[in-house]
Symmetry: C2
Subunit: 406 residues, 2 copies
């Protein structure tokens, strides 16, 4: 069993780097603070006798040898970059759980058959540089190293230059690194476990995700003199589409999700009928089939609205992640480890994307969720209970041992 | 009859000051360009032998004496400040029609019983400084000179300092200036006249207007892991209110207007369920009774939504102009003048506020509308036909003569 207090202390110490007044963390990818965080985590790994390798996109792999080092390593990991108003647990928990697993193995002198590795993936959050999950994405070949290198932040700074600046651009070719199995421990970032008073979420899959930009173009005119009958109000038409996004999600339960999070109204003046409205659409579901149905329902609704209103309605898909079922072996290992440890579990499909979905393209993968307070994440008030974090780490340890062999 | 070509030439010459590439005008209140426009208009007035007086808020009164100068003047006027992307006609047409009336009287050696004045009101548009219709508002006592002086633009510059800087802060106490009757010629800023193929709009009234800010507060959470059933999506609730604003307007025809023009979504991120949405509501109607009913319907709907959703919904009234019926004498004079001149007329209630609604608090007032292309205004593509502008100016001349006496 892991040492929960040691894990908690490490979380609190890492949380000081970029720590905010409200108890959160602001440690954006590839900033000086990210470098300080990376330095701290790798110093802890070296203290445990681990070797440290960095690849071309700055992913860090910290390795504890096994009995048979010809075997691909059993890996765990996550990220230590945060949202601008992020918390101490998102990502950080996954990385430091990995370190705690190693400390526990060392403490008890346990040798594994396969080597064990802890990964720190570069820029998971995507807050400073898009695309999100950049390090794991390049690693698994979802997009090219070149594409990632040329991503710029709002000041025009490039990923490549920032990696060099903080000293975390490595030699290892991205993806030139076999993986035997991958596990990731993470706070749930939703309310399901807490509401069910359950400690461990077994994650069978991650929802697929379609992101769109929708643009409705009407005709800008004066709110006073323009009679209701002849208006071409882009916002009014948009409100029906925004409601349909939610209706579509309800049509494909229990995992359908539909969200409009971002809206831009033009010219956005109190006494001008909006001439154009641009808004985001986020659709998610657990199967390709259901996500395709949601897409088709949206497309059909927009066509009906075009016919009905005569306004121009454009839909552009800006991102797509297919639903990602995890490997039955890994899922079973998580479930079995929880049962052996006596923890109450339930299946919780992940609604958010994680580095694990990219790792899953290369190796059997699975995730372990623990509750977070009120289901809140991406927020400085993000919080989690030490005993839950310890439980998740115990499950991680046992699942990894099952995959690595003792 | 007035000289339509001379009027058009003056409009084009004034339109050069602040003229834009797209044929519009950007001449914000109390800028150097506003000063240039004021200098040009007053030079034209002086050339016609008029006296020029400026009051404390920068309103300009250009006077042609009558036979009996103890009588209060018959006044016409409007504004020469524009929207940032405004046109050549809005406001400018009303002022230059007044100048053209004087030129015509001088040309034909016609003396009036009462004096005639042309007013240029300060900052009607409200684009740079709020409140809108500032000069006429202070003049009629709707708010204080102090309040207007302290209004600041986005750079923190004050009205008082800017008036001094451009040399248009006068000695005359605001409102210490009797008016016998007031007429204002203006482009319609809506499509009614053009659609009815009619030259002159007789304006019986201006719609009353209620402006609100509505704030809906839900709970910000992650678009992926948060199930549909437990969301407190501030944007979804807002869309129903936005639709109700339009439904309320339709419930009180033919003059009901309901518009949501401005929307701010927080945190406005693609994968975050909006925690708070703030938007403007603009309700208008022709009678106090109908506008009150609209207000009550809105309040009742918001209460029902609070009950239904449990979200916090706040409504704050930020501006109110009561409906403004014009004086029957002035309305009749406009109608009679149009008939005598052989112009096709129809009644067009003004949907937009004008300086005339403040003048109407002090004296009998009326307005004359002429068509504008596609009903478009507050836009660089704003356009109007020379023969329509000439017709409106002829009606203004005859209506003013009827009030002033020949
Ligand atoms: N964990 C996380 O927030 N990933 C970003 C992509 C998503 O919205 O799921
Ligand atoms: N004419 C004009 O645009 N006035 C501003 C106030 C309103 O929206 O009616």
């Amino acid at each position: 069993r892991v040492d929960g207090a040691r894990l908690w202390d490490s979380l609190m110490e890492l949380g000081k780097i970029g720590g905010t007044a409200k108890g959160g963390v602001c440690r954006l990818a590839l900033t000086d603070l990210d470098k300080q965080g990376r330095d701290l985590v790798t110093s802890w790994a070296r203290a445990e006798g681990m070797s440290v390798v960095v690849d071309q996109i700055g992913n860090i792999f910290m390795r504890r040898p096994g009995r048979n080092n010809a075997l691909p390593p059993v890996m765990t990991g996550s990220h230590i970059d945060t949202q601008p108003t992020g918390g101490k647990f998102d990502g950080n928990y996954g990385v430091l759980s990995g370190i705690e697993v190693i400390r526990t193995l060392n403490q008890h002198g346990i040798q594994t058959e396969a080597p064990i590795e802890v990964a720190v993936w570069t820029n998971e959050e995507g807050s400073r540089f898009v695309p999100v999950m950049m390090g794991s994405g390049v690693f698994c070949g979802a997009f090219t190293l070149e594409h990632a290198y040329n991503a710029t932040d709002i000041d025009g700074k490039k990923v490549r230059d920032e990696l060099e600046r903080i000293g975390y651009i490595g030699d290892q070719v991205c993806g030139d690194h076999p993986i035997g199995a991958y596990y990731e421990a993470h706070i749930e970032q939703g309310p399901v476990l807490e509401n069910a008073d359950t400690v461990i979420g077994v994650v069978p899959a991650v929802l697929g995700l379609s992101w769109y930009d929708c643009t409705v173009t009407g005709f800008e005119s004066h709110a006073g003199p323009t009679p209701m009958e002849i208006r071409k109000d882009a916002l009014q038409v948009s409100t029906y589409i925004m409601q349909e996004v939610v209706a579509i999600a309800h049509r494909y339960p229990p995992y359908g999700r539909g969200t409009v999070g971002q809206v831009q109204v033009m010219p956005n003046s109190r006494n001008v009928i909006p001439g154009q409205v641009k808004f985001s659409i986020d659709l998610r579901n657990v199967s390709d089939e259901s996500l395709n149905h949601m897409h088709e329902d949206l497309v059909a609704y927009l066509e009906a609205m075009r016919q009905k209103t005569g306004l121009s309605i454009e839909l552009e898909r800006v991102s797509y992640f297919p639903p990602c079922p995890f490997h039955p072996d890994c899922v079973d290992n998580v479930r079995a480890a929880s049962a052996a440890l006596g923890y109450k579990t339930m299946d919780v499909v992940s609604g958010a994307g994680h580095d694990a979905i990219y790792a899953a393209r290369l190796a059997p993968a699975g995730m372990i969720f623990v509750p977070c307070k009120d289901g809140v994440s991406h927020n400085e008030i993000e919080d989690a209970r030490p005993e839950h974090l310890e439980a998740g780490c115990n499950v991680l340890l046992q699942a990894m041992l099952a995959s690595a062999g003792v």
